[in-house]
Amino acid sequence: SQQGEEDPQALSIQEGENATMNCSYKTSINNLQWYRQNSGRGLVHLILIRSNEREKHSGRLRVTLDTSKKSSSLLITASRAADTASYFCAIYGGTASKLTFGTGTRLQVTL
């Protein structure tokens, strides 16, 4: 299975701190995408990183990809209470049109 597994499952930090979430997967990928989901709401696309890329930035987000270790990390710097959400990695393997989602990390940012 290409399934991504995120860790930690839950993360609680204070506003202003950095949050790091990790995603591991089992097979080769074409790209890996990170999404945010507020409780009971839709999935918001954050960033896509392709297999030939090692790092991407978008605002306070930094994503790294290590294809040799089959892992990716999402770093949110200077976190805010509004960053409280679940974060998912989703894998596109290139042989099918679907995304395979991981189990998610629940991030709680407290004031």
């Binding site: 790209n31 995408q33 989602f101």
Partner: protein, 114 residues
Amino acid sequence: EPEVTQTPSHQVTQMGQEVILRCVPISNHLYFYWYRQILGQKVEFLVSFYNNEISEKSEIFDDQFSVERPDGSNFTLKIRSTKLEDSAMYFCASSEGQGYNEQFFGPGTRLTVL
């Protein structure tokens, strides 16, 4: 900014009834998808659709499910005879190209089967 929209936001139905979930993908996108998320579980792929036909479907997408693009803007998911286990949040997504591109998701339809 263009976005995927879905209606209704919440649908309650009796077991055995048919439901149709509606989606309007982003206008210049060519690939369309349905995913579902049972409460507390992962997001699961159901089906992808391109050029008026199904590209791929998962094991979940059995004969009770069908998809259609009835006109140039709408994309629908029909469940013919709902079961209790179909209760979930259903997400529509669209992308410009195949999986090489970002998939943008709608806000979801929460389906409750009683």
